[in-house]
Symmetry: C2
Subunit: 210 residues, 2 copies
Amino acid sequence: MVKQERAARTRETLIRSAAEIFDRDGFSAASLTAISTRAGVSNGALHFHFATKAVLVDVVEETALIRLLAVTNGALPCGTSHLQLLVDVTHALADALHEDVVLRVGFALGGETSRPPRTDLRQCWRRWVEETLTRAEAEGELRRGTAVQDAATAVVAATVGFEVLGIRDPTWLATSTVTRFWRLLLPTLVAAAPLTMVEAGGTRQPSPVG
Amino acid sequence: MVKQERAARTRETLIRSAAEIFDRDGFSAASLTAISTRAGVSNGALHFHFATKAVLVDVVEETALIRLLAVTNGALPCGTSHLQLLVDVTHALADALHEDVVLRVGFALGGETSRPPRTDLRQCWRRWVEETLTRAEAEGELRRGTAVQDAATAVVAATVGFEVLGIRDPTWLATSTVTRFWRLLLPTLVAAAPLTMVEAGGTRQPSPVG
């Protein structure tokens, strides 16, 4: 049992180290030796867990997907609109992308042309945004004349922009940046009546990112 | 003279071939042999023009910057608002990113962490957007209470999102996608009076991208 726990911990350390090295060196240039060195394990231990670099990349992406689902899969809190959930989840996603190198690298894999697309987190995110906006529309939360597709385009493009620009400059993932975006978009998105009820800054506790 | 022209043409072919290989294989994995083969020249000819791969990457980025400036540097046409110019230029940029692999690769270099940032086209684009919105504000084109910084955040994030998502799926760079974004944003951006005068679809001739 202790041995199994140790193996699971090594595996997790390797996934995180791989993400850190992919983040620093790029997917193609990243070496398995750099990854095992950062994880503090031997090359043999790395190969015991992951037969090839391609397998390791796939596992990083799958781990990132699980973390994305943890961000999006919360139930709609009682009394909250679908639009408020969308605002809150974009804030949570920005925080998670700032803090979690595995999630960040998982998203970046969506633009990696040297590898055939597999999971594609950006597409998963897009589907979630479209579904949430479709529910908001069904509940009459969207302003008359605002098409779900128009809103989804703007939200997905902007959040992927924050993700990509945040690689070099973390202020793109700050709460204030995401709030600024929502302050501009909400007036055209939200039906007149519930507008006052959607908080651009989200309804979570303030995060330390700013 | 003929010899100089031929050298200039070879240089251009090499820059384009390099961008195509960077686009396909990633910057780190791209091999100089693949680039010279695609350009139809010898390795020796490549080395005559570009001493190292790093030099070639820099030249691709500089060439992309010149093309970005060609998109942004048009004078304000008579009778056009700064906001209409901003809308028109985002459309022109999306078209150019769709058609021009050198420009696309130049933008992608802005997120390449394996290389210290140099020109960073995304930052150049951001500065141009901020300057244009500042001029729009000075001319009273912005709606009261809309901050230049809020608007710039949304426009830059969304256009970088289109750029990145367009790598896998060119419909993100289609005229209809960019128009959709502007239709949603313009009502909160534009002062009541000139709103009817800003065309979300741009004022250029329709492009074949759709």
